[in-house]
């Protein structure tokens, strides 16, 4: 599948934003966030900015961006509509959570309830995003048991890294111990890395159920080879779904995303736990930014390595 820059930006940014929002919403009811509202304001602004930038980016690949509002109507059948619907709905408790926290100068029961609702909305939205891909039967690298866990763990990882960075920036250690925020980032990061490695093993080892023989139904005659294509130049199908990435580039990019997206942020997070305040803050910020970069590469590969059954008709493997 051809990597769609706007969708890659969207899933990377909104993943981090929803991850941060979900963690804030879940930690707040347990009294684990500072009462002084500046940490909360900064965190919610960052989370919603990442989400909103992602949502706006996602409309850029549409043929009719001005009709994007229509995309919530078919929530009964479409994961894309469900994603849009829950993304829009999540703004309400998220904004309410921030407003009550700011006005009461503490997380009162109302703020705690709104925080929990915002966290639920974030989780539902990430789930819907992952299901857009995981429900597509023609793309075996997407209809895969590791896709949804990976989306959740990567959102948790990037969200936790930002939470740890903000906790350091606002000296929130009294209520949100650095061992907790950094510990969450380490746990999510290791789990996400494991999920990605298992995902890559799975897509490398499991061949697709469909072949040129099943696509044409001519398998009873023997092996099917494409002799002549219907057209001499690339058409929409080949441009959109016939993207090819050299195996050696895929391997290098996987290694790059592991190094930049996982190894470096995890090491920096551990370093931040032992460094003095300012270097620790810089290490935490660097970890957050590197993880976003690495996840961007990972998401690019998620598209580039995916093959669509339509290429079977053109004599390629899917």
């Amino acid at each position: 599948m051809t990597p769609a820059l706007s969708v890659i930006l969207f899933t990377t940014a909104s993943g981090a934003g929803y991850g941060l929002l979900a963690l804030l919403g879940l930690l707040a009811p347990f009294g684990l966030v500072p009462a002084a509202p500046w940490f909360g304001i900064a965190s919610l602004v960052l989370a919603l900015a990442l989400v909103s930038a992602g949502l706006l980016a996602s409309t850029l690949h549409l043929g009719h961006p001005e009709r994007a509002w229509r995309a919530v109507s078919q929530w009964r059948s479409s994961w894309l509509a469900r994603e849009g619907f829950s993304a829009v709905l999540t703004y309400l408790p998220a904004l309410g959570f921030g407003a009550t926290w700011f006005l009461a100068r503490r997380v009162d029961p109302a703020a705690a309830a709104l925080g929990a609702l915002a966290a639920a909305g974030a989780v539902v939205t990430i789930f819907c995003t992952s299901m857009i891909y995981a429900s597509l039967r023609p793309v075996r690298q997407w209809r895969n048991a590791y896709v949804t866990p990976s989306f959740f763990l990567l959102a948790g990882f990037s969200g936790a890294l930002w939470l740890a960075t903000l906790a350091r920036a606002f000296h929130a250690a009294a209520t949100l111990p650095t061992t907790l925020s950094s510990g969450l980032a380490l746990l999510f990061g290791l789990a996400a890395l494991a999920a990605k490695i298992l995902y890559w093993r799975a897509i490398d080892r499991t061949p697709g159920a469909s072949t040129a023989e099943t696509a044409t139904g001519l398998g009873h005659l023997g092996r099917v080879r494409a002799l002549e294509a219907p057209h001499t130049e690339e058409n929409y199908l080949m441009r959109e779904m016939g993207f090819r990435i050299a195996r050696k580039h895929a391997r290098r990019l996987r290694a790059l995303s592991v190094l930049v997206g996982f190894a470096a942020p995890l090491l920096l997070t551990i370093a931040a736990l032992v460094l003095p305040a300012l270097p620790a803050l810089i290490a935490a910020l660097a970890a957050s930014l590197l993880a976003l970069t690495g996840i961007f590469v990972e998401r690019w590969l998620f598209f580039a390595e995916a093959t669509h059954t339509v290429v079977l008709y053109y004599g390629r493997a899917a």
């Binding site: 919530v72 479409s78 429900s135 039967r137 001519l218 494409a226 057209h231």
Partner: protein, 246 residues
Amino acid sequence: MTSLPTPQAGRKKLGLVIDLDTCVGCHACAVNCKEWNTGGHPGPLPDYDPYGAKPDGVWFNRIHTYEAGEGAAGRTVHFPRSCLHCDEPACVTVCPTGASYKRAEDGIVLVNPDLCIGCKLCSWACPYGAREFDEDEGVMKKCTLCIDRIYNETIPEAQRVPACVATCPAHARHFGDLGDPTSEVSDLVRSRGGYDLMPEMGYRPVNKYLPPRKHACSAPALPEPVANGTGVGERLLAWLDRALSA
């Protein structure tokens, strides 16, 4: 509404039966489809750079040619590919806006271009590559089964079939109601072993393909050159054969 109509036994399922035994790969179906539809319901169908180095555009029919099998048993098969108007069309259910829909009354899968936001997800959801994006209009296009011909009371009744069917010079394309077990197309599917493409995908296509017939390669073998005849002519031929084989 992108939820699918509830299936009912005996409901009309209009579709095509494509005979891979008689298709000669002339692309007439593709050309007539393009001609009709660029002026019809889903038109215009764009052409990008039509006279340039890389001509491209939206077509609802694509004719592939395959070789199947090895050696003497191998066959060359021409293979028209178009929308199969599936019973379980994920291209419809993934649509977030309700632009894609499957008609309850005849099973035809259509796109409403006024509701389409051009997200292209439906084209990702189709295993068969039936949908092509119109870059000029920013909306998705697809085969309509010539909805503006088959119900068109202003054209003679004999022409109320899809353009691809009307034009096929080999009569390799048949149109009819595949939901009616007594229809001619259902008969064809039964008698010729009509089958689904990629049944493992679970989309349950309505269109069926008829496999190439089994031809015993029955042409008589060429006679061996006469080597030991007794007549003058045969001996002369035998000598010629030896002289030319040397």
